[in-house]
């Protein structure tokens, strides 16, 4: 039984931050949840999908974030509570709807969770999504702990319903993917029945009036925030320094002050409601000290807004010194951590603090640089993408015209790195590879003589590539699109999508066929198995020679991580030690030095290749690339 559905109020349980958000929504009586997966947000809807049936709620993986917000908003318009969750990039996709939804307002509690990824640990950018709240005049909450993540989510539904506005919750990787203790609350009792009042259309017009009403709502929201227990002050009455923080910064600052023994010298203003600012609460505490340090991720959101606030209220405040990103006391990029915070406070308060002997630090750093070779990110053993990029590389070499491969986001984005033999040349938003291919495909008229290719995953195809494919057909662009169909949203945890025949709740679903869709759009479509590298290489080469119109090559092979859950290996792979002639071969160690699957190993003693049986998943591709036929694959 999942902890999410346990009806044991008061029980203290270990929750992942994202599960705590999900549990908060359940306790609030959420009925409709929709999202497109994206780290670090995926487990919110993922964990809800596991208990949806049992709790009688509806959960879906939507095709993209905009559709997901619309699905959740529909529930709200019908008087039910709706939840959507996404990563920072997702809010950009959803924002077009959001900038109208703020004007129309919502009915049933509607909560939009955005999980930012400072330092881009699993993203293409480290966008700070908080300015959206300010731009859209929507309430913004930022939980600092796992317990708070649950409580805030539950409260956000009440607030949303009271104000008639969707409420934004901003999490970050270090909260969403952290685990901590949260106390279970009560399960919901009564759930309303859906009804849309057709006598009252939900539209943003007349805009001047709805915009004004939005401003009134956000003023009322500020009143609620003034009383919120999510904002607090901890520290002496007259501190030398006031640290203003939110999110995980709260824990870092507390621990840093404790480690340095500086708890009596600095006070912490911890904000949980970060837009609109709780003005009276801030005024009370900003008066305590004239040096103010802002600790937040990623952009100076509180820093700039509180500076603006202080300017507005300057007559009531003494002159302040603001320390933070603008002053250079904290880095203006990347995530913060306890050490960065310690360093900043140490500098301001001039505290001497040494976490460990300096000699140890030096010796450990030296040992790591000498003995710990770094780990370049790569594709998993048996990943079909490695085989695909191998074929792309060889086909482009055969073609000889310096073809351009345009890509986007997913596991296959590692194609820009050595893992994908450096074949992928651009990476931006979901579906941007094919969008750029549309443009490159028009440049032949100006003399561009390089063939144009684009690569896109199966889930990305549904998310963002289809309109670009329509555009290509309509405007007669010319390129080859490779769709890497590994039958999962692999990067984010193997969520099902419209091509998998399963829904989020595990029900059977009609398969939206990629082939059929592409054919209907007028593309020439072929399907190949990327593990057959020769066949795939030839297909890519051949398709590049025909320079008219759009060609789609679907490379279909299940994600290795999904496959090994069901079946151990396709082949038993081994190296015939007599047949492998190592360095003498002249292949330049094609298997280990060039193909570089982690399932292979090189024995420096014998000077021959080996299979690492703890890693190999038995795809058998290395057997096909060995010029000596020394690698053997035996059917199991």
């Amino acid at each position: 039984m999942s902890i999410l559905s346990k009806d044991s109020p008061g029980k203290k349980t270990l929750f992942m931050g994202n599960e705590a958000i999900a549990r908060g929504a359940i306790e609030a009586g959420v009925q409709v949840c929709a999202a497109y997966p994206g780290n670090p947000s995926s487990e919110i809807i993922g964990s809800l999908s596991q208990v949806a049936e049992e709790l009688g709620i509806y959960v879906e993986w939507s095709v993209n974030e905009k559709v997901a917000v619309e699905v959740a908003a529909a529930a709200s318009f019908a008087g039910l509570r709706g939840l959507t969750a996404m990563k920072q990039n997702g809010l950009n996709v959803a924002s077009d709807f959001l900038f109208n939804l703020n004007l129309t307002g919502s009915k049933g509690g509607l909560v939009i969770v955005v999980c930012d990824d400072p330092s881009a640990l699993s993203s293409t950018n480290e966008e700070d999504s908080r300015p959206y709240a300010k731009m859209c005049d929507l309430p913004l909450l930022e939980p600092a702990t796992v317990q708070e993540a649950k409580e805030m989510t539950r409260w956000a539904f009440d607030l949303s319903e009271e104000l008639g506005l969707p409420c934004l919750i901003r999490s970050v990787t270090r909260l969403s993917h952290a685990r901590g203790i949260a106390e279970l609350g009560n399960m919901p009792k009564n759930r309303p029945n859906p009804r849309f009042d057709t006598s009252r259309p939900i539209i943003p017009q007349p805009v001047m009036l709805t915009h004004k009403a939005l401003h009134d709502k956000i003023k009322k929201c500020q009143d609620r925030f003034e009383e919120s227990a999510f904002n607090l002050y901890r520290g002496p009455e007259r501190p030398e320094l006031l640290v203003v923080t939110c999110g995980p910064g709260w824990m870092y600052v507390r621990e840093a002050l404790a480690n340095m023994g500086a708890e009596n010298r600095a006070g912490i203003v911890k904000l949980g409601t970060t837009w609109p600012l709780p003005g009276s609460f801030l005024m009370e505490h900003l008066k305590k000290a004239n040096r103010i340090l802002f600790v937040e991720e990623v952009d100076p959101f509180l820093e700039n807004n509180i500076k603006e606030f202080c300017a507005q209220r300057a007559a009531e405040l003494e002159v302040k010194t603001f320390l933070g990103k603008a002053s250079g006391n904290l880095p203006d990029v990347g995530e913060i951590n306890p050490d960065i915070v310690t360093g900043a406070i140490q500098q301001v308060l001039k505290v001497s603090y040494e976490p460990r002997p300096l000699q140890y630090t030096q010796e450990a750093a030296e040992a790591v640089s000498l003995f710990a070779p770094s780990r370049e990110l790569g594709f998993c053993a048996g990943c079909p993408h490695r085989a695909t990029y191998w074929s792309v590389k060889n086909a482009l070499a055969m073609d000889g015209r310096d073809g351009i491969l345009l890509g986007d986001i997913g596991c296959y984005a590692l194609g820009v790195r050595p893992a994908g033999f450096g074949q992928m040349k651009t990476c931006h938003a979901m579906g941007s590879g094919i969008g750029l291919a549309n443009g490159f495909g028009q440049l032949e008229r100006f003399g561009l003589n390089q063939p144009v290719l684009t690569v896109c995953g199966d889930s990305t195809f549904y998310h963002a590539a289809i309109p670009a494919l329509v555009n290509a057909r309509y405007n007669r662009s010319n390129f080859l699109m490779l769709i890497l169909d590994n039958s999962a949203t692999a990067m984010t945890g193997f969520q099902p999508h419209p091509g998998t025949g399963r829904t989020a709740m595990g029900a059977e679903a009609p398969v939206v066929e990629i082939e059929g869709l592409c054919k209907a759009l007028g593309a020439q479509v072929e399907v190949k198995n990327p593990f057959d590298v020769q066949d795939t290489t030839e297909a890519i080469y051949k398709l590049l020679q025909d320079r008219e119109g759009i060609k789609v090559l679907i490379l279909r092979q299940e994600c290795a991580l999904v496959r090994v859950k069901r079946q151990k290996a396709l082949y038993k792979v081994r190296v015939n030690q007599e047949q492998c002639i190592g360095q003498e071969c002249g292949c330049n160690r094609r298997c280990t030095r060039i193909f570089k699957c982690p399932g292979l190993a090189w024995d420096p003693v014998t000077g021959k290749a080996q299979i690492d049986e703890a890693i190999c998943t038995g795809c058998g591709v290395c057997a096909d690339i060995c010029p000596q036929s020394a690698i053997l694959k035996e059917t199991i």
Binding site: D117, R356, L377, L414, P598, I615
Partner: protein
């Protein structure tokens, strides 16, 4: 049980795919069951694909701590891979740190390709010994392979950890945690992996 320090800070480290996250979750669950306050910080995502991964586990009887251990404040490293065990010492090690290490290497791609070299195990362990208070070792991957899947190495390591008597990790608590987090048909092999780890762990002689 009182620890040497509060919070007692643990890092479980290894290579993406070794089951770091499950190990930290099981360990956390075992301690939560006994009333300890636990915070776990995970590093995964893109690093799942062959990169270094680590979980920070903070155990306390008095407060909830942040999901990241500050510089030099790690008390125990559980290394699912030997080079990764050394790597975390650069940021988090200190002369008092305790080390439990699976000795089976996973070679980085650059080593497989011949662009970098992997240190000889005995030299690596000596270096780790110099930078720590005590080192315990076992070949957990080998035991995993004997049990049918190298993925069991993380459970083998938890078993090994349970005999070091640093934390209250008993067989019964482990079984409860497994029952809570994994499907029931997986109980038997996991219990066996746990036992095998208990038997195999050895203190590295000084």
């Amino acid at each position: 049980m009182a620890f040497e320090k509060d919070p007692f800070n643990i890092i479980i480290t290894g290579v993406g795919g070794q089951g770091n996250v499950l190990a930290s979750q099981l360990l956390g669950q075992m301690l939560v069951q006994q009333g300890y306050m636990i915070t776990i910080g995970e590093t995964y995502g893109a690093s799942q694909r062959g990169g270094s991964v680590m979980s920070h586990i903070r155990v306390s009887q008095r407060d909830q701590f942040s999901p990241l251990i500050p510089e030099g404040k790690c008390d125990l490293v559980v290394g699912l891979e030997p080079v990764e065990a050394l790597r975390v010492l650069a940021n988090y090690g200190n002369p008092g740190v305790l080390m439990l290490i699976n000795t089976r290497p996973i070679y980085p791609i650059d080593v497989i390709a011949g662009n970098a070299s992997y240190p000889e195990l005995s030299i690596l362990l000596k270096k780790i010994q110099r930078l720590s208070r005590n080192v315990w070792t076992l070949n957990a991957t080998e035991i995993g392979l004997e049990l049918g899947d190298p993925i069991f190495s993380n459970i083998v390591m938890l078993g090994a950890l349970s005999v070091l008597d640093l934390l209250p990790l008993h067989r019964e608590e482990f079984q409860k945690a497994i029952e809570e987090l994994l499907p029931s048909h997986k109980l038997h092999l996991n219990m066996e992996a746990f036992e095998r780890g208990r038997e195999a762990v050895q203190k590295l002689p000084v």
